[in-house]
């Protein structure tokens, strides 16, 4: 009567898997019923397994219970019994053919289909993100709110918008065509990228729980990269960039949890094995003539990972990647980052020259990053007065105490050398 351990995140991942599989069978218009059925199957499992021990095949057990819950609920609720019966025959199948879903690859197929369903063009991107976190990662509304720094009401609203769209769609995920897959792939990339950045931008206390977002993004991107529908150079580059950033994550804070600049990080703490995995994906992404923003960003991350020290970083290569990034995905934040890299390569005056006469868009002008970079470059050029002015602005705009502390430390006048190279994802702030 022992209760054997389950694999990590068993409940969350089974939730995602079952929601995907059952939604394929009944159609996404029933997604809320599917979610309820799965939730209560997990509850039954929790109660039963703790007392009676694990069944032989826990996923199959869960599928059976969730399937029965769902059928019961749909039969009970709908008056149009015949129509439903038809649906049942056509799409749900019978219990007997249930186990077929456990054939290798099928599960991943269902999850992947669901990912493409979440990326329906008609769903606004902030709702797609929440929908993906709910259905594909198994997070609850309050858990999503915590991870996105959003209110529960806001997450609820975003999810509601996505669901009402799905209800109208009456889509059977199994009927997505190749055309759907290829047209939605860029959105799928974007959502996975967002899930990852939300985790990566974490700081201090929330580090551990938000790190899960990075793990989830990597999990889903890996499934995508192993499926014919997702095997494109962009997918490989995205996965490379995730691994190359994740490899450096634990080194981003000191023992007290304060954020560290790239320059201050203990490079020995970087996860070399993960860097290797990242580099392998990067090599794979180099096939074909497509060069996406993910290629550019992975290229930058790779340069940092491969540099033996901050000083020995091949800043010319980093600058080159930023220039490419600016061309593919024009954004003021890329220009700002290029200026920072140029300052390392050719000196702070050259860095400032890039930004000279450049009017930042309001979202960037109102962000601490813009003020912080200017404060730093002016400080290093000896323009004390201007530097102080920007420093005060940057500190006032700092989003978290950890960032503020870092800015105050770095932007003190009279500190020797050093540069403000914030270790961040390139377009993390570019979503306002």
């Amino acid at each position: 009567m022992s209760t054997p351990k389950l694999v990590e995140h068993f409940f969350r991942h089974e939730y995602a898997r079952l929601v995907a599989t059952l939604s394929r069978r009944v159609g996404v218009q029933y997604i809320e019923d599917v979610e309820d059925a799965v939730q209560s199957a997990l509850m039954t499992a929790l109660e039963t397994w703790t007392i009676a021990g694990l069944p032989d095949n826990p996923p199959a057990w869960l599928f059976r219970v969730a399937h029965n819950n769902l059928m019961g609920e749909l039969r009970r609720r709908t008056g149009r019994r015949r129509i439903l019966e038809q649906n049942v025959k056509e799409h749900i199948g019978t219990l007997e053919n249930g186990p077929e879903i456990f054939l290798a690859g099928e599960v991943e197929d269902d999850l992947l289909r669901m990912l493409f369903v979440c990326c329906d063009e008609a769903i606004p991107v902030e709702s797609q993100l929440v929908l993906a976190l709910k259905t594909l990662c198994g997070f609850e509304i309050r858990e999503i709110a915590l991870r996105l720094f959003a209110s529960e009401a806001n997450v609820y609203k975003r999810l509601g918008r996505a669901r009402s769209r799905l209800r109208k769609l009456r889509l059977y995920p199994g009927k997505l065509t190749g055309k759907h897959y290829s047209s939605r792939l860029p959105v799928v990339h974007k959502i996975l990228y967002l899930v990852f950045t939300e985790g990566y931008l974490s700081s201090q206390s929330e580090m551990a729980i938000r790190r899960e977002l990075c793990d989830e993004a990597i999990r889903l991107a890996t499934i995508l990269a192993e499926h014919p529908a997702g095997q494109t150079p962009e997918t490989f580059a995205l996965l490379a960039l995730m691994h190359l950033h994740a490899a450096r994550m634990t080194a981003r804070q000191d023992s007290s949890g304060a954020l560290l600049l790239l320059e201050e990080q203990e490079r020995a703490l970087w996860d070399q094995q993960r860097i290797q995995v990242g580099l392998e994906w990067l090599a794979k992404s180099a096939k074909g003539d497509g060069f996406s923003r993910y290629h550019a960003e992975a290229g930058i991350a790779a340069e940092h990972c491969l540099a033996p020290s901050f000083r020995e970083t091949r800043w010319n290569k980093v600058v080159e990647c930023y220039a490419l990034l600016e061309r593919i995905a024009p954004s003021a934040i890329h220009k700002l980052n290029r200026a920072v890299a140029v300052a390392e390569w050719q000196g702070p005056a050259e860095g400032l020259a890039i930004l000279k006469g450049f009017e930042p868009p309001t979202w960037l002008a109102g962000s601490y990053l813009w003020a912080a970079v200017l404060a730093d470059l002016h400080r290093r050029c000896g323009n004390v007065h201007t530097a102080n002015r920007y420093r005060d602005v940057a500190c006032k705009l700092a989003p978290t105490p950890a960032v503020k502390e870092l800015l105050q430390r770095r932007l003190q006048i009279g500190l020797p050398g050093g540069s403000l190279n914030l270790d961040k994802l390139e377009s993390g702030v570019n979503r306002g």
Binding site: M1, S2, F11, R12, Q39, L42, T50, G138, F139, R142
Partner: protein, 112 residues
């Protein structure tokens, strides 16, 4: 295994309780797992959840008073221990008691 057996009756508040998320369920499962390991030698019968039923009296059978009760008997189990104190300790650490609004009654089972 200690000799004396105790019947543990779990009660919880009837009505709504917020549904745990999958992540919380994982945590609950892990806690339960750890508890079961720790008190392996004390647990005689994990018992189970109690469903609905009827009350039989000399006058016949009714649907039972428990339908109206604010506190519902949700489940039972049997543990063995050297003393009531030890039995209470087993129960106190059980994840089932930690949930707000729930309690466990521990009663010694006298057998001839």
């Amino acid at each position: 295994m200690p000799k004396q057996k105790y019947l543990c009756i779990q009660r919880s508040q009837s009505g709504k309780s917020e549904k745990p998320s999958p992540a919380q369920m994982e945590e609950m499962y892990a806690k339960f797992h750890a508890w079961k390991e720790k008190f392996q030698k004390n647990i005689v019968d994990m018992g189970g959840k109690l469903g609905s039923g009827k009350v039989v009296t000399s006058e016949g059978a009714t649907d039972g008073p428990f339908v109206e009760a604010k506190e519902v008997v949700g489940g039972f189990m049997i543990v063995s221990a050297e003393s009531l104190e030890e039995a209470m300790e087993v129960v106190r650490e059980s994840p089932g008691v930690v949930m707000p609004g729930s309690s466990v009654e521990v009663r010694e089972i006298h057998t001839p």
